[in-house]
């Protein structure tokens, strides 16, 4: 028989307690190496779309704040297009990166992104996915980065038809992926464990 010849993915290891040195050195007072930390600015004055702030905290299984995590988000622009070479449906807003990186602060465990609300995005079968932001979370004690999504509370109809949210068997857990909203401020807390555990994705 022939060999398939595929390689194995490099195994993940925890980002550890000093992840900031590598991903956000200016945040941890290592200055002068990079001008700025990557992913701190997603928008500029010309970015199209509705301005929002997305912030929140991460909790462990004992309800304690996770103060040493790094979160990355990835999202479409206001028209639902990704600023990526693999985006074949059109050209995304050049004034929107779609990608952000932010540590949770040691003082209060908060992360925060200044961004815009994304548009709807087509699923493979032509259905629309409701507007959402993809989250990736790494920290000490997390052996492999956790993927999840944040959806918008005002999009009830779109959320109801969303093919990913529809796949969640225990319906009461859908709420773990939906932010709360106060005007332009979205709040999205993540629970790593426990009764309110966030739905994480193997995707």
């Amino acid at each position: 028989m022939q060999e398939l010849g595929y390689l194995k993915e490099t195994p993940s290891q925890t980002a550890g307690p000093y992840v900031h040195i590598g991903l956000t050195p200016n945040f941890c007072d290592i200055t002068g190496v990079y001008d700025t930390d990557l992913g701190t600015q997603m928008v500029n004055d010309k970015t199209l779309g509705e301005r929002i702030t997305v912030s929140g905290r991460i909790f462990d299984g004992a309800g304690a704040l996770v103060r040493d995590a790094v979160i990355e988000i990835w999202q479409a622009d206001s028209a639902g297009l990704y600023n990526s070479p693999s985006e074949m449906r059109g050209t995304a807003d050049p004034n929107f990166t779609g990608w952000g990186r932010c540590p949770t602060r040691a003082e209060d465990g908060l992360y925060s992104f200044d961004t815009i609300k994304p548009g709807k995005i087509p699923f493979k079968d032509g259905r629309k996915m409701a507007p959402h932001i993809t989250f990736w979370i790494v920290a000490r004690g997390i052996n492999i980065g956790l993927h999840t999504r944040m959806y918008f509370p005002e999009e009830q109809e779109a959320n109801a038809g969303d093919p990913i949210l529809s796949r969640i068997e225990h319906r009461e857990r859908v709420a773990t992926l939906i932010a709360t909203r106060d005007d332009a401020k979205l709040s999205f807390d993540i629970y790593l464990q426990g009764p309110k555990e966030t739905v994480f994705l193997d995707i």
């Binding site: 390689l7 194995k8 040195i21 290592i30 087509p122 997390i142 956790l146 739905v199």
Partner: protein, 249 residues
């Protein structure tokens, strides 16, 4: 985020992750994982366009010193203390295809095993000339390289007497967001690898071996630096031969 690699972008979904190859979330030997491990089953899904896509990092954003940890934090004319080494390798995907335009970020302790971080309390000395971070964007053949000092081992509060073997942290940003990976590189011949609770979270010995960089004698620079070679494999992409086309595609 400019200067795309000069090749047709791929749009296939990624191979499913082999979860038995990676560490499980709950690994009580590594105590911090106990309260940070999700206990519910993950929701498993084929990737959508939200995961197939990802941002691009151009080579132009990388500064000249970004991959020289011996000098990128040092005072002018000085250099970090420690054993001079070069770490290099290729970023491939599971199909063996070189991955160009991949952002590779690395961070580490200094030669004494001390990190430059306010949470770090180990009594080993800070090196005033060592920051501990670097980055590179892979070239057309998927290659990266950097110069640094070999990091020291250090003790950490887990078991009564647990030590981390010498290691370098890597963050790898492939072309799709679901390829996102963080890992650690270890050094050939280090007996401490097999005593480490964090290494020990990985169930398969063959997977651990994939994190151990061999001494690359051929690339060692005489009278200057030894070389270690560390190749990194990201999730492969399905070819799009029989896929349903996305709307508007």
């Amino acid at each position: 985020m400019s200067d795309l690699p000069n090749r047709k972008p791929e749009t296939g979904a990624f191979f499913a992750r082999d979860r038995a190859w990676h560490s499980p979330a709950y690994t009580p030997g590594y105590k911090t994982s106990v309260l940070r491990a999700p206990q519910r089953a993950l929701l498993s899904l084929d990737g959508t366009i939200s995961e197939i896509t990802g941002p691009v990092f151009g080579q132009s954003m990388i500064g000249e010193m970004d991959n020289d940890l011996i000098h990128n934090f040092a005072r002018p004319g000085e250099s970090a203390i420690g054993e001079r080494i070069i770490v290099h390798g290729r970023v491939l995907d599971e199909r063996g295809r070189p991955q160009s335009g991949v952002l590779v970020e690395f961070w580490q302790a200094n030669a004494g095993g001390r990190y430059r971080h306010k949470k770090e309390t180990y009594l080993a000395a800070i090196d005033p000339n060592f920051g501990g971070c670097g980055r590179f964007v892979t070239d057309e053949e998927g290659r990266y390289f950097f110069r640094t000092v070999r990091p020291g081992a250090y003790p950490w509060p887990n078991g009564v007497n647990d030590w981390r073997p010498a290691h370098i942290h890597f963050s790898i940003f492939g072309h799709g967001f679901s390829q996102r990976l963080i890992t650690q590189m270890y050094f050939e011949g280090d007996p401490m690898i097999w005593k480490c609770p964090i290494v020990g979270t990985i169930p398969d010995k063959a997977a651990i071996e994939q994190l151990i960089a061999p001494l690359d004698w051929g690339n060692t620079i005489p009278m200057d630096s030894r070389a270690y070679k560390f190749d990194i494999v990201l999730r492969g992409r399905r070819s799009t031969m029989f896929e349903n086309k996305l709307e508007g595609n």
